[in-house]
Amino acid sequence: MAEVKRRDEAPKPTKETKEEKPSGGVSRRDFLIGSGAGVAGLVIGGVVGNRVIGQPAAPGSAPVAPVAEVPVAGEVPTYKAGFNLVFDAVQCTGCNNCVVACAEKYATYLHPEETANVMNMEFARIRTMRFQYVDVMNFCGYCNLFEWAEGSSEYPCAAVCPEDAIITVPEGEGVEGYYGMGYKWIDQDKCLGLDACWRCAEICEDQFASGISFDPVNRKAQVCSRCGGDPECVKACPEFGALKWVPAARNGRFHAFIPTDHAELLYRKIYAHVREL
């Protein structure tokens, strides 16, 4: 994959600076704006331990992102809001390169000590599932409920979370290295963890997809953050077009499938077979 240039390119932060960030509610961006530094510069949120201090979306308000800006042919896209992951099941070979890239990124980020000597695919926010002759890719689709039909326009997982632990870090804020689009994040302090609650994962499997999994170390929920706008999985994918990061329909629920449903559809499409999974 081509190296993607970002308009809001920030210097790679060192670990020390990460730990020094204040944990206050004021984001770095606000601070910069307030001090007249403008929006073109750094966008850095505060991090304490594993906790991200972004601004959760205001309760009840839909995380509406701007309409996608389609890049002109030949130009490097500089703005990722409105982009989504698109998976092509015919091109995908189920090689797991994306899974390893994702798992390594988040394991190293969240549990650098525990995973210093372990490669564990359970940390992956993106997962291949091989239903024998078809491979299905699982990742959060960024589904929204429809207000007129379902009484809310939240993410369904966030809507059922009793602790408001599934937050949306607003566009341009959050952790160093995460810029561009608003992204989902699990507040590691608020999440009750797998031993107490798995509502988010269950509602996702029940009605939408299989986008939420659990961290094998701290047993908190995991969800795809799109790496804040520059997904590692897409960069790791060796198959042209199998996993794309492109301007796509905004409501991700139409990209999302429950894995067994998806596999059944693919058996129909690829092999003209009806399989009950």
Partner: protein
């Protein structure tokens, strides 16, 4: 135990008779000597006394081992090796791709060994440290494809197996009214991986294989029959522990480099082994056609066995094993005017299938023609011929039969029919003509279920020939059995100087293996190089990684082993020794379990006479035979020279005590060697 990296230091031993699971913790020294996979499996065959000549391969005492190595897990191109005493009474170390090898490591094991026999059909569920023996009545008798999908859904990791928690009250009222939750709880976040048998294995057909992911198999030497004899339908593995690596950063960097290199490998990434295709026939003159009576068609327009033709006709996807960018397996949907085959899901065929159940069964010519005549059909006819080949691949895979030995077996019968030795009445009324896919379909099902004549044929090609030779009182029937050490020859010939040298098949430690390595050395008579090649391949089966990717891994293999295990003093020479140990052990194993007094006469010379006395009838190497028609040169000059180079005795090919001592295995194999020296 000290901190272990690469390996986990634990092998699970499941006793199906007692219903117990114990943990074996081999010393690190054992791992350093044998690594894992085929070599470590060979070690256990000795340690556990499986070399006992009286031990029935299909009895409860046989040891069935699913072995992986120190790299399996995070490494690219992971495979798994199944090691056991074969129902053919030979050494079985059969490797298989897919994701299950890695998954066993993620569950925290270096291997799973099965002994005993369950009283009723069971499967083994491995969920990290937890190993359960579960009832398999619901899948017993079902084909591989169906059973695998059922079993996959039944095994969940601890971190994903949850009852329903969501209540209507968790949703807002509008949503709950519109779409109340189904309350099914939480399930798989990554799927378990399965190795299983179909009816062929359940009925202990000697050449039954163990399948995974529908079309992959630990195909050869009949491990599926051993699994069936234990009433074991499947092992299903789901691991969440990951792979511990001594130097993760280096290991992952090496892995990335291998994967990047693979991404540029146009050969494998275009058609997989189907890319070899017609070159083997029209350039090498070494393609199996009609039980090796021909090795090339006189009319080069026959091309249904080429990658581009197959791709244009039927490839619909491509699938990879764990961490591999070569994706050499291409699933297909068969399109045919014949309702038997139309819309059947199958794969490729890969190299061995296109030879052994393609050309070898006479599928590629029009009815009534022979391979020496011009091809009289159209391109559409060629597509139909390809469909027959793909369908035959499917029925073997789905019943868990090895299509190499299966193809050799059926081709033998077809030639016996062609030559008038047997007729339809000997085959339960099946009129077995070259290229008749319906007859093949009936026969394979009879074999898989051991019905009627199928019960005799289920013992493999050589026994089929022996049965008919005795029945008809015609010993010459045995000459048409294309078996090497009583086991079917795969789709590489030894008559054409451009393919394999006969000595490669004679010396490879797993009977008639086409993946033994050392091909170049054997051809030039450089036995040191040949032995190095064989040792490397044995090491690959021990690490366990794929031979197709060997070129991409060659430069970094030793560095990856070091980075994974932290054995910083480990060297390329140590890797060579691993292979040499496996060869010495497997040779002693076969000599001992068969109690061979004169191994050369009784065993090594058991090759098809066709190699020497049936010149290639057409093609670029017309007239070629192996060793210029002089088997004595092969067995009395070349073979002793090879044995000498290995440090084995020149008369019998037994590893000397000195050699065993140098290899550091005199403690486990010395006594056996003394009995045969």
């Amino acid at each position: 135990m000290a901190d272990l990296f690469g390996i986990t230091g634990k092998i699970a031993r499941v006793d199906l008779t007692a219903g117990t699971v114990t943990v074996i913790e081999p010393a690190v020294d054992v791992y350093r000597k044998f690594l894992g996979g085929s070599s470590l499996g060979a070690y256990f065959l000795f340690k556990e006394g499986i070399f006992d000549p009286m031990l029935d391969p299909l009895g409860p005492d046989n040891l069935l081992q699913f072995m992986i190595g120190p790299m399996t897990g995070a490494a690219p191109n992971a495979r798994i090796t199944v090691v056991t005493k074969s129902p053919y009474n030979i050494f079985c170390a059969s490797t298989c791709g897919g994701h299950i090898g890695s998954e066993i490591k993620f569950a925290g094991w270096d291997g799973i060994q099965v002994v005993g026999k369950a009283s009723k059909p069971v499967y083994i569920a491995v969920i990290d440290d937890k190993i359960e023996i579960r009832d398999a009545d619901h899948v017993w008798g079902k084909g591989v494809e169906e059973s695998e999908l059922i079993l996959k859904s039944e095994v969940l990791a601890e971190i994903e197996d949850r009852e329903a928690m969501i209540r209507d009250a968790d949703l807002n009222p509008t949503w709950a009214a519109m779409r109340p939750p189904k309350r099914k709880g939480m399930h798989a976040k990554r799927l378990a991986h399965v190795m299983l048998i179909g009816p062929g294995g359940e009925n202990q057909v000697h050449y039954a294989c163990i399948c995974t992911e529908g079309a992959r198999a630990a195909g050869r030497w009949g491990s599926g029959a051993v699994m069936g004899s234990k009433n074991l339908k499947a092992i299903v593995v789901r691991g969440t522990k990951g792979h511990r690596l001594a130097d993760k950063k280096t290991f992952m960097a090496l892995t990335s480099a291998v994967l990047k290199s693979e991404s540029g490998d146009a050969f494998w990434r275009s058609y997989g082994t189907a890319g070899i295709g017609a070159a083997s026939a029209y350039v090498e003159d070494a393609f199996p056609i009609r039980n090796w009576q021909w090795c090339c068609w006189s009319d080069p327009t026959v091309r249904a066995i080429t990658g581009p033709f197959m791709d244009s006709t039927s490839f619909v996807r491509k699938t990879s094993c764990a961490n591999c960018n070569l994706h050499c397996l291409y699933p297909v949907e068969i399109t045919s005017t014949d309702p038997l085959m139309d819309r059947v899901m199958s794969d490729m065929p890969d190299w061995e299938a296109m030879g052994m159940v393609g050309g070898n069964l006479g599928f590629m010519e029009m009815e009534g023609d022979d391979p020496g005549q011009p091809f009289t059909g159209t391109m559409r006819d060629q597509a139909e011929n390809l469909a027959k080949l793909q369908y035959t691949t499917f029925i073997h895979d789905n019943t868990s039969l090895d299509f190499i030995e299966g193809g050799a077996n059926i081709a033998l019968l077809m030639e016996l029919v062609q030559r008038g030795f047997i007729s339809a009445s000997d085959l339960d009324g099946i009129d077995l003509k070259w290229g008749d896919v319906h007859a093949v379909d009936e026969l394979v099902k009879k074999i898989a279920y051991r019905e009627g004549i199928g019960d005799k044929l289920a013992q493999g090609t050589y026994e089929t020939a022996r049965y008919f030779a005795e029945l008809k009182g015609k010993p010459e029937i045995l000459d048409y059995s294309m078996t090497n050490h009583h086991y079917g020859q795969p789709a590489h010939d030894v008559r054409s100087p451009k393919d394999k040298n006969a000595l490669e098949y004679v010396t490879v430690n797993r009977a008639a293996a086409h993946t033994g390595g050392g091909t170049g050395g054997f051809k030039t008579g450089d036995y040191a190089a040949a032995i190095a090649g064989q040792n490397v391949n044995a090491t690959q089966n021990s690490l366990v990684h794929c031979q197709f990717a060997a070129g991409h891994l060659a430069g970094s293999r030793i560095d990856m082993v070091k980075a994974a295990t932290g054995w910083n003093d480990f060297s390329d020479e140590d890797l060579q020794l691993v292979g040499a140990r496996e060869y010495a052990l497997s040779r002693l194993f076969e000599v001992h379990i068969r109690q061979l007094k004169d191994p050369k006469e009784e065993w090594d010379k058991q090759v098809p006479p066709r190699w020497f006395f049936d010149p290639l009838p057409n093609g670029p190497e017309k007239g070629a035979v192996a060793y210029e028609g002089k088997p004595d040169v092969l067995f009395n000059e070349a073979l002793p020279a090879y044995w000498k180079e290995r440090g084995w005795t020149e008369d019998k090919g037994i590893p000397t005590l000195d050699t065993l001592k140098k290899l550091g295995i005199d403690d486990i194999a010395g006594d056996i060697a003394k009995q045969h020296l």
